[in-house]
């Protein structure tokens, strides 16, 4: 055998063995979504209705076994206060686990700030959670296939497969991911997949007394969430990242990031 042939056959053998054929098919995400047209989970948040009680945050933690006092949450609520002289103040004390109970706004290094009632021009609460994006950055960057998206749109983490590299935490433009303090793997909102796929409601939406949070099927034109998304003015967060979020907000404005 000539040296050249030897190198050639080795190269062919090694690459052939390492690559399986299926790796060569690349499908458009759209094709896949079209293959499952009946169900696509989406979430609707109404910022006018949210009162910042934080019942959703507490319910989420209890339901999904995220230690209550650990400084990580799958969902949290932000308070925005816009003053008449144009300032925008924001805080989320402990993710709003115990709700908003004081007028003092936590400004980190600048301390606690109080705005006089008559100085407030606009103020509202914005619940946040994983957006279960149509083009999920976290799934794209996961090197081992531990973070993935189901055919009906939920982005989940395979706990036995996650190696804890943290790429997904860095990759998510919304900062909704964290390391689970007990499981020691990446964690995030699952849309309560164990509840919704068995016909139930998400824990946060069922705990919200004000109906500010709702899960629904975006592919069903009779579904209230789908109807709101189609017929009302809804906003999504950080459109510029191209991740195509599936959490829609009523009453969003540009100060909310």
């Amino acid at each position: 055998m000539k040296r050249r042939d030897f190198l050639k056959s080795t190269a062919v053998f090694v690459s052939g063995a390492a690559l399986s054929l299926s790796a060569l098919d690349i499908l458009e995400p759209g094709e896949v979504l079209a293959a499952n047209p009946e169900l696509r989970w989406g979430f609707l948040v109404d910022t006018y209705k949210c009162v910042g009680c934080g019942f959703c945050v507490k319910a989420c933690k209890l339901e999904n076994e995220i230690p209550l006092e650990a400084n990580v949450t799958r969902t949290w609520v932000e308070r925005y206060i816009m003053t008449k002289d144009g300032q925008v103040l924001m805080d989320t004390p402990k993710g709003a686990l115990n709700g908003f109970t004081t007028k003092l706004i936590d400004q980190n290094a600048d301390g606690m700030k109080k705005v006089a009632d008559e100085e407030i021009a606009q103020a509202f609460f914005v619940p946040k959670l994983c957006n279960h994006c149509t083009v999920p950055a976290c799934v794209q960057v996961c090197p081992v296939g531990a973070t993935y998206q189901t055919a009906d749109g939920a982005v989940l983490v395979d706990r036995t497969w996650c190696i804890g590299c943290g790429y997904c935490i860095m990759g998510c433009p919304y900062g909704v991911r964290f390391f689970h303090p007990v499981e020691h793997v990446a964690d995030k909102c699952t849309f309560c997949y164990h509840r919704i796929s068995n016909g139930g409601n998400t824990a946060c939406a069922q705990a919200c007394p004000f109906g500010a949070r709702r899960i629904g099927n975006l592919r069903d034109p009779r579904d209230p969430v789908a109807r709101a998304v189609l017929h009302q003015r809804v906003g999504i967060l950080r459109d510029e990242y191209g991740t195509k979020p599936n959490v829609y907000y009523i009453g969003l404005n540009e100060e909310v990031r």
Binding site: T10, A23, V32, G52, G99, C142, T190, A203
Partner: protein, 156 residues
Amino acid sequence: MKNHVWRPLYVVIALVVAILLFRAIYVPKDFGVQERGYTFGFHRLGNEQEWKAFPAKYKESNYCNECHEDKVGSLSASQHAMIPCENCHGPALNHPEDPEKLAIDRSRDLCIRCHSALVMPSSGRNNIPGIDPATHNAEMGCSECHNPHNPSLEEM
């Protein structure tokens, strides 16, 4: 051809075979490139089932109604009707077997989540009766005067 040319090839083949063997044993059958290709589809199908089997803790108020019809009834006639039972009583998983009784949260903190007065002109919070927790009977539990299942003081 000489032996020293073949030896590296044997090593490479042995390595590849070892890796493929390890992969065949270690990687579950249902792990693979699913419909969306490597970029978005690469996962273990069985994990979806594992998530579906995660135990649900909250049972929702209809479940409470099966045994506590009177309580659910009085609550749903009050201004607190929209508050689900489990928000104060805790998740009902396994109740009434274990735990037999649910621990009720009667703390002031629970009430002031909604009833601490905040000026929030673009939110429903503005429509909720609010107090200043520092001055409104600061040492007392709210439920000493207000019945959580019927909070209106006029009707007491």
